[in-house]
């Protein structure tokens, strides 16, 4: 693993330190000794093969899950040591774009975006109306405000969800696989939106994904996860020049390498000949 | 607008519920004055109350005027004492009134029959807390059969 010196890392919004996490009473270890720093005002990409628990990482940052060891600090607060009220208060400063969009199916796009404002601000309805229209404009869905989520295409739903995520002007946005299952055009739109929003609103973004090509174009800093820990990190340019076989395999999408193609199993001969069932 | 319609529907729903309760309360259930209304209490001692229970009706000529509110044993000889709660509407019983424990039909529930006594200048009216002394106990089937057999033997 190569250590990269980078002055931008000094001002970190999220600091993950020595994290151990396992699902369901230690049966399935997800992270061992995971450490990460997410610089303020930048787009940080977290990449890794499917099933590595990238979504779990976001849930840990949002304190929906609790680690067995280690700490996660958001803006100087250890998120797992806050009481409920402070945690809910802190969550207003971050938002998460879920893979499915997670729009509330029983309200219109407009009401979905107005929801966090109505819930958390005491603003009068006229001001909320203005904010909602501006957020919709930012994602290009002002014309779709009276549609129900079920009437939106996948790409539009994700954009609407993005508008909702930025409704309260958070400091941090967590993107969970924002590119998964999108056609090339809506993928391009979302890539552009993430970049623009980050720049114009002064956000910090964490993008969890396995779509390398897209994210390498917008990320300021990249972490690669494999085998329960960080196996490489650096700016996209630094990573492309890396000669670490794992990073190389991942960035170039090779089928077999340090990350094996096969899920751990007995050898094919044994399986086919049934030696252990004989 | 949609939420207004929702509220309207829920309001109607609650009204239907209240109407159902009123229907059950007024049309199906016992609406006699005793459940609320003003009442007074009378007491009567019996030798045997048979199958009388609390809440059994007290009737005059078949009309319910009150209910048994309490049954207890009193005195050195443990005599059954029945407390009756009677509607204030019927407060003109004289102290010559008698009570008996009767059965409605062959297999029916037992109830208290109140037979109003005569009224003239010499009698007083029963008031709250008074005792009725002229009582007739319940007929117990076994006793009847016993008497019948005993009577047969004597013949």
């Amino acid at each position: 693993m190569r250590q990269v010196e980078n002055s931008a890392l000094d001002d970190a919004l999220v600091v993950i330190d020595n994290l151990h996490f396992a699902h369901s009473f230690g049966a399935h270890q997800v992270y061992r000794n995971l450490s990460m720093r997410v610089p303020r005002g930048k787009i940080t990409a977290v990449m890794g093969p499917s099933g590595i628990g990238k979504t779990t990482l976001l849930r840990l940052i949002g304190a929906q899950l609790y680690p067995q060891q280690g700490s996660i600090e958001f803006a100087g607060h250890n998120v797992h040591q806050l009481n409920r009220r402070d945690l809910y208060e802190l969550r207003k400063r971050m938002s998460m774009l879920f893979q499915s969009g997670a729009l509330f199916t029983d309200m219109t796009v407009y009401d979905n975006i107005a929801f966090p404002l109505r819930e958390h601000s005491q603003l009068p309805e006229e001001i909320i109306d203005t904010i909602v229209k501006m957020k919709l404009e930012a994602v290009g869905l002002r014309g779709a405000r009276d549609l129900m989520p079920a009437e939106l295409s996948g790409g539009m739903a994700r954009r609407a969800a993005l508008a909702r995520a930025i409704a309260l002007d958070p400091e941090l946005i967590l993107y969970d696989e924002p590119f998964a299952g999108q056609d090339p055009i809506s993928m391009g739109v979302i890539v552009k939106l993430i970049k623009e929003l980050n720049a114009s609103l002064g956000l910090t973004s964490i993008v969890v994904t396995h779509d390398i090509a897209e994210v390498m174009t917008i990320a300021d800093y990249v972490y690669i996860l494999a085998d329960k820990q960080v196996v490489g990190h650096g700016t996209p340019a630094q990573l492309k020049q890396s000669d670490d076989p794992l990073i190389h395999q991942f960035l170039h999408g090779e089928a077999d390498g340090p990350v094996p193609f096969h899920y751990a199993a007995a050898s094919l001969e044994d399986d086919l000949l049934g030696s252990d069932h004989a | 607008m949609e939420s207004r319609n929702t509220q309207l529907a829920v309001g109607l729903f609650v009204i239907i519920g209240i109407l159902a309760l009123l229907f059950l309360g007024l049309k199906a259930a016992n609406t006699n004055v005793l459940t609320n209304g003003e009442t007074y209490k009378l007491f009567a001692k019996f030798d045997n109350i048979g199958g009388l229970k609390e809440r059994s009706p007290v009737k005059v000529g078949g009309v319910v005027v009150g209910r048994v509110s309490k049954i207890s044993l009193v005195g050195d000889y443990y005599e059954p004492l029945v407390e009756m709660t009677i509607s204030k509407e019927y407060n003109e019983f004289s102290d010559t009134t008698s009570v008996s424990i009767l059965t409605s039909g062959l297999l029916g529930e037992q109830y208290i029959g109140l037979n109003p006594g005569f009224i003239d200048d010499t009698v007083e009216m029963l008031e709250d807390g008074d005792y009725i002394y002229d009582t007739k106990s319940a007929l117990v089937l076994e006793d009847l059969i016993g008497q019948f057999l005993f009577g047969q033997g004597n013949d």
């Binding site: 969550r91 509330f104 309260l168 | 609650v14 199906a28 259930a29």
Partner: protein
């Protein structure tokens, strides 16, 4: 052998953990800081989908069950020359038992399963997580209004059921089979008590409402967020809630009328 014991231990632990989680969920949903301005419209909406939309099935079933009671009761009672007791028979069986119990069973099937599926789906589509990440407690926003809606709706539905059922019994007994109109109502009135029958029926249906809604919400909230998980949770809601209602009904009947 040891494996069996271990399996039993695991089942027991899971059951205790499940009950604890259910209790915890309910506590947090109900004893949060109430926000009347926000929760009133939510309650209205849920009363609509849980209560108003269940009205039709309740009215139709109530009518038919009342009619069947009228018919069956008449054929039995007429043998004893006691057909004038048809009124109290219909009214008492509805008010004491069938009203609360059948309503609860229908409610579990109609509204309970819908609640479980809705919440399960909200979980599967990450809407619950999304609420949490927005700093909105899903227990208070999603669970609590649904719970109260179920709790208030079911007694109303049970009353409607009993009223319609008595009317159904009246239709068959009096209008069709010719039991005396006056006797039908007056014998009913002299046998049905406010406290003993109507109030106890309402108490029963409040208990059932509590249990059925709780089970439905808990099953939805704890379900595995996949299509199989949701369908299992929905089935489990109907089965568990129905069994709980029947079991509790016995206990309550023993306490009230025993």
């Amino acid at each position: 052998m040891l494996n069996r014991v271990a399996a039993l231990g695991k089942v027991t632990l899971d059951a205790i953990a499940g009950a604890g989680a259910a209790l915890f969920m309910l506590m947090r949903a109900l004893f949060g800081k109430p926000q009347l301005r926000k929760s009133w419209p939510l309650l209205m909406q849920q009363m609509y989908s849980v209560g108003v939309l269940s009205l039709l099935i309740i009215v139709v079933s109530g009518l038919f069950i009342g009619m069947v009671l009228g018919l069956q009761g008449y054929t039995i009672l007429v043998d004893f020359g006691a057909e004038q007791s048809l009124g109290p028979m219909v009214a008492l069986s509805l008010l004491r038992e069938l009203g609360p119990v059948v309503t609860a069973l229908l409610f579990a099937g109609r509204a309970g399963s819908a609640l479980t599926a809705e919440i399960g789906l909200m979980k599967a589509t990450e809407q619950l997580s999304s609420l949490e990440m927005m700093g909105v407690d899903p227990l208070r926003r999603v669970i609590s209004p649904r719970f109260w809606a179920g709790f208030y709706s079911m007694p109303i539905l049970a009353l409607v059921f009993s009223a319609v059922g008595i009317y159904g019994g009246y239709l068959v007994g009096v209008r069709w089979l010719g039991v005396d109109d006056g006797a039908f109502w007056s014998v009913m009135q002299s046998n049905v008590e406010w406290g003993q029958d109507i109030l106890n029926g309402v108490i029963k249906s409040l208990v059932f409402a509590f249990v059925v809604t709780w089970i439905a919400l808990h099953k939805g909230y704890q379900c595995t967020p996949t299509s199989v998980g949701i369908s299992r949770a929905t089935t489990s809601t109907v089965v568990t809630a129905s069994l709980a209602v029947l079991g509790l009904d016995f206990v309550l009947t023993a306490l009230m009328f025993g």
